[in-house]
């Protein structure tokens, strides 16, 4: 039996026992007030019993920890399978493996005729009806990762700054110093332009999960489901979907991969500078 059923029955039982106590208490001036108090606790236990259906996951830690910051789970929410093609999570005694499928759809409505548009919506309708087991189809708009490019620009700027310092201190000719300064201005302008606005990318992907009593069992089942889904997607849209592996999976899970750090921190610092100015 599920844990939440025990909580429900326990609280409901407590509520009935308290009600019985209320009725059994003798009548009298002091006892009537006590009866009301016991009834109040009984009603509260009954309300909590009902709430436990949805909120058992919050109620138990709340009563146990009695703090303002309640830890529902102190484990990392997932880990990557050894084959690096699935995300694993432990739930009770079972393992749940989730596989992410990249769907390479690069068609725009602007280049479709009316008939193609109708066909496309019908293909999408077919897509969501592909799997008998729950599957998730996602269209994701995310910030393009310019981290490595920005880093490269910063390195170049540092290098040219050194060059400029050497030229100034080493008594290089004025034209040489001007040339280096011009180069520096160019790279700075380039960094400015790159980080001025965020560039966004659109990706489509599907995800499917499977449960197993062992890690490898869950992964194998999820991979099998993913392959079935991939063949359906391929037939429907005429594209070749692929299973996402390694760090690429994080793009669909972790928020910091939606908004890459350097790309955004550069923009934030620029916004702050603009506000200060």
């Amino acid at each position: 039996m599920e844990k939440k059923i025990f909580i429900f029955l326990g609280l409901l039982g407590m509520s009935f026992i308290l009600l019985a106590i209320t009725v059994a208490l003798p009548s009298g001036a002091g006892f009537d007030a006590l009866k009301l108090l016991v009834l109040l606790v009984a009603v509260l236990a009954d309300v909590l019993a009902f709430a436990s259906r949805y909120y058992a996951y919050l109620m138990i830690p709340m009563f146990r920890q009695k703090k303002r910051f309640i830890i529902l789970n102190d484990q990392t929410p997932y880990w990557l399978s050894s084959s690096a093609d699935s995300v694993l999570q432990k739930e009770g005694e079972d393992f749940i493996a989730t596989v992410y499928i990249n769907v390479p759809l690069y068609r725009s409505a602007t280049e479709m005729s009316d008939e193609e548009k109708i066909n496309f919506t019908q293909q999408v309708s077919r897509l969501v009806g592909l799997s008998r087991d729950p599957a998730r189809f996602t269209s994701e708009l995310y910030v393009m990762n310019k981290d490595s490019y920005i880093q490269k620009l910063r390195d170049t700027i540092n290098q040219v700054e050194n060059e400029e310092a050497k030229a100034t201190q080493g008594g290089a000719s004025q034209s040489e110093i001007e040339r280096v300064r011009g180069k520096l201005a160019m790279w700075r302008k380039m960094l400015d332009n790159v980080s001025k606005a965020t560039s966004l990318e659109l990706a489509s992907f599907a995800a499917v999960s499977a449960r197993g009593s062992k890690e490898f069992e869950a992964v194998t089942l999820a991979q099998q489901k993913a392959r079935e889904l991939m063949s359906g997607i391929g037939t429907t849209f005429g594209v070749t979907p692929s299973i996402v592996v390694g760090d690429e999976i994080l793009k669909f899970i972790e928020p910091e991969y939606l908004i890459p750090f350097s790309t955004v921190s550069e923009q934030i610092s620029k916004n702050v500078q603009e506000q200060v100015i």
């Binding site: 009537d32 009834l39 929410p77 725009s108 999408v124 009806g129 087991d133 996602t138």
Partner: protein
């Protein structure tokens, strides 16, 4: 409401019913009235939890200033309307909005004769126009699962028989034209669904939601930015004629967990969502 929900409600309401039957034990007078008041407040709370639990529990955590840790590295804020993650001193706030697009854009819940092909043709363009102006990351998720064809067909045939019975009664009682037309329309809608299943279309259960992530140099900045992003999404996607309600409470927690693992059965999927959107 599913069967489990009904069972919980019935058992939870049993206690107030019994309490009312033992009201004379409170000695009459003011004590009886106070006891009745306590019982009625309990009933009201149970009914509120049944229909608007997400409002009630987020209100409680907001008032008591309680926040949660759903997994290591994540924080569920006190209003239970966003999940925060801190990476390299930057805060990523993630929020969810319901968005049941399917019924409108891809196949309306109406009979074949009223299905407008131009509406279908306009869907991809509307979608592109809606997202083109959004300069922040978001994900549009469609979780779908195939239903038991025979069970859905039996249910629909049952509904059609009932409507046909109502229609025959309407004819016998010489009901007005509006009632008859309405019943005929309902029958044709059900018949259209049965025909689709007969033609090989699979009945599916779908859940659609939008997830967006905002970034900030402090928790407050990230949360404020998230709120403005959600408002922008609501304005932008409203062109698709969908209900865009910000998800709070337990359903937000469930959607957060969906990023790492999906439900593996239709029952698991449907038991998590029955309130918002």
């Amino acid at each position: 409401m599913d069967q489990e929900g009904i069972m919980y409600l019935v058992f939870a309401l049993l206690m107030p019913l019994i309490s009312i039957s033992v009201l004379p034990a409170f000695g009459g007078g003011i004590f009886t009235y106070i006891a009745l008041f306590i019982i009625l407040v309990g009933v009201a709370l149970i009914l509120m939890i049944n229909w608007v639990d997400f409002m009630l529990f987020s209100l409680v955590s907001n008032l008591l200033n309680i926040s949660f840790q759903p997994a290591a590295g994540y924080k569920l804020v006190k209003g239970q309307d966003a999940i925060l993650k801190e990476v390299n001193g930057l805060y990523y706030a993630t929020g969810f909005v319901t968005g049941n697009l399917f019924a409108y854009t891809f196949k309306e819940e109406v009979g074949e004769e009223t299905e407008d092909p131009m509406k279908l043709a306009g869907a991809p363009e509307k979608w592109e126009r809606a997202i083109i102006g959004l300069g922040f990351p978001f994900k549009y998720h469609v979780v779908s699962a195939g239903l038991d064809v025979q069970k859905v067909r039996d249910d629909l045939e049952g509904k059609r028989s009932y409507k046909e019975y109502q229609l025959s009664r309407a004819y016998v009682n010489a009901a007005n034209e509006v009632t008859i037309t309405d019943l005929q329309r309902r029958i044709s809608v059900i018949q259209a669904k049965i025909d689709r299943i007969s033609q090989g279309e699979k009945p599916i259960a779908t859940l659609m939601y939008v997830e967006t992530t905002a970034i900030g140099i402090s928790e407050k900045a990230a949360l404020d930015s998230l709120t403005s992003q959600i408002k922008a999404l609501q304005v932008s996607l409203s062109a698709l004629d969908v209900d865009l309600i910000r998800v709070v409470g337990r359903e937000l927690y469930t959607l957060f967990k969906f990023n790492f693992s999906l439900p593996t059965s239709v029952e698991e999927l449907s038991s998590s969502f029955d309130q918002q959107g």
